[in-house]
Symmetry: C2
Subunit: 426 residues, 2 copies
Amino acid sequence: MRIGLLGCGTVGSALMALLASERDWLHERVGEELEVARILVRDPARDRGPYVDRALLTTSAEAIWSDPEIEVVVELLGPDPLARRAIVAALEAGKSVVTANKELLSTDFQVLSTLAASVGRDIFFEAAVAGGIPLVRALRVSLLGERISRVVGIINGTTNFILTRMQDHGEGFLDALSEARRLGYAEADPSGDISGRDAASKLAIIASIAFGLEVSVDDVRVEGIEGLTEADARFAERNGQVIKLLATAERTADEQGPLVHVEVAPALVDRSHPLAHVGGPDNAVYLQGGAVGQLLFQGPGAGGMPTASAVLADVIDASRNLRAGVCARALVADRGRLGGSDRKRRRFAISLDVEDRPGVLATVSQVFGRHGVSIARMEQEEMSEDSAHLVFLTHDTTLATIDATLGDVGELPVVRALHALIRVLA
Amino acid sequence: MRIGLLGCGTVGSALMALLASERDWLHERVGEELEVARILVRDPARDRGPYVDRALLTTSAEAIWSDPEIEVVVELLGPDPLARRAIVAALEAGKSVVTANKELLSTDFQVLSTLAASVGRDIFFEAAVAGGIPLVRALRVSLLGERISRVVGIINGTTNFILTRMQDHGEGFLDALSEARRLGYAEADPSGDISGRDAASKLAIIASIAFGLEVSVDDVRVEGIEGLTEADARFAERNGQVIKLLATAERTADEQGPLVHVEVAPALVDRSHPLAHVGGPDNAVYLQGGAVGQLLFQGPGAGGMPTASAVLADVIDASRNLRAGVCARALVADRGRLGGSDRKRRRFAISLDVEDRPGVLATVSQVFGRHGVSIARMEQEEMSEDSAHLVFLTHDTTLATIDATLGDVGELPVVRALHALIRVLA
């Protein structure tokens, strides 16, 4: 089985190492040899270690998608416009495609899936969400007959590492971020991770499969973790909780029928919940199904080898389908609409810094009262001589109401910083 | 797609309910209707609720396996000799088979898999291990290219419920067992669960798939939880651990090459380990792979609906394969031998009751010393006026040495009861 590889960075090199070191064993298990026949790179001169044969390198993507001997194309280009063109060209040339491209799939999932099905080939993307965790195949095959009602995931390792440091070591956000950078868990520009955007891309893909809906990253309401402080972590700690960046897709309903809402936001998670114990750079996804109940999948969300493992699983599956002359079914879309995130009744925690002088608490509280937001708990911590940190935990209300409330709270002269709007995992 | 159902107890009835309540949705998702055409029962007069049409009932298994219109046979007979005969007959008649029969598979896995492959049909058994957790398909498909080095699972819900009660509520074994019975988590005769035999059956199946070896339940070294006491749970608690009944399959090696050892035994698990937080009747399986690193799957290990969900997933997969004219590949056996459990160096905890009088501790300790077993920690608890509970935690040694040591310890007149031999999860 001849494979064309587009991109040879961390994951591509790991894949080559894996194929080389497990060559005989894989041959026996898979029933034929998996041979990378050509590798697209930008810079053929760069050293890629002992497992990448320089004779295979090319700078022409076309040399791969037009090679009639290549049957599976593995796309690992990341956010490069060439990725989409190469995938389309490969499928149209009758090749199956394996991709780890969450950016692309979070917008073009349905188009590419439909194209693959129409040419009788596979597009597999286990590595695009939750790294080495075999979640996509679980949703596409094992849980095909299961009516999923909710998916809650920790699907960004960088932010989970930072939040775990803040919780366990009492570090502030910036210190925890530095540590993540030092250990290689955060990139030089971590904005896509900490803003929640990376998790939103993956959530769009997960929700598309779990609910059979066309979900784009732009449909996801996103809040990041930039605003969280040590004081918020302490608030959680005192209440037997931890703060996690959760990606949530949930099936609800309104007068007009079923509805799916998708959001990424920091949330308070009780220590008794399995997601509370997902520490460091790990990912985990919690599924609620109609018949099966609750399932948890946990594992490495990133890293060269775990991601290469997911890519390899897809390559094997695609190869076997090609040999059998079949392809995976396109996912049938459920009838359903997106939305409802702003109308769902639930609790929120709001963290903010205010001037520490008499009457301030009353001033802020009044704004909550005016919007009909009832407070379940409030904690105040002294921060400096003239500044205090407040956390308000509300009773059930809606995001729409909270948005309006925070608009007004933010206008108050006594409010120094509105740090974070935190969900509460129910 | 016409389905024949053998057995209609808890799982069978749940499957019928699921097929009825999700009929239209499933039709759309699967692409065709899944119709149960005939149901084998022992007693056609028994009431099986609104979802089981009496006109479909038969007392003849042959009526199902010889019905040319039935394409998939679902076997839910449990430990009944008819199960094996029916599965073989169904496969030979060209039907695909879905079974939840762990007892049968734990001895006849290879024979039945080989038969299915030889007739070009599937035998699927997701429901036979770890209930609703989609573990089997993960191992067979998603992790096919992953070299698994270790599988550690909590795969018996009854014992996990009992151990969770003992740990969290300070209950003794018998009280916790009563509570499990009261809540329906333990059967009238729970001996298969608490002896570890049920977990051993499932482990044999898991190890067969994960390592591609022929593993039978009789290859598994088994210790149950009957001997554990409240004092053992307190010992674990004091040391930041919990006690879990772990099923372990591990790839090691000796001078003659690779070796897989399989065992079921209670073990001390650090609270920082994900398996420590698997409470109540839940199951969880922890996998260690060469490339992917560590993966955890957690979910309901039993129950009508979760098990029916796993059966349904298999039925859908088998149906799609039949329509596509393909079947799952037979699993290729790795070269490897079973054994090595007794020679692996590791820590153990031994719990026993002794007479509470001067010199007893020295007497018992001497036996450990004589066998070269070095003690890392010992805790003594007063039990009654003349009786004390001891827990010895050893440094690294082997099971063979421990077996010999305990043989001698058990002979000492001062030893009233040798309660449990506990592993330590490393």
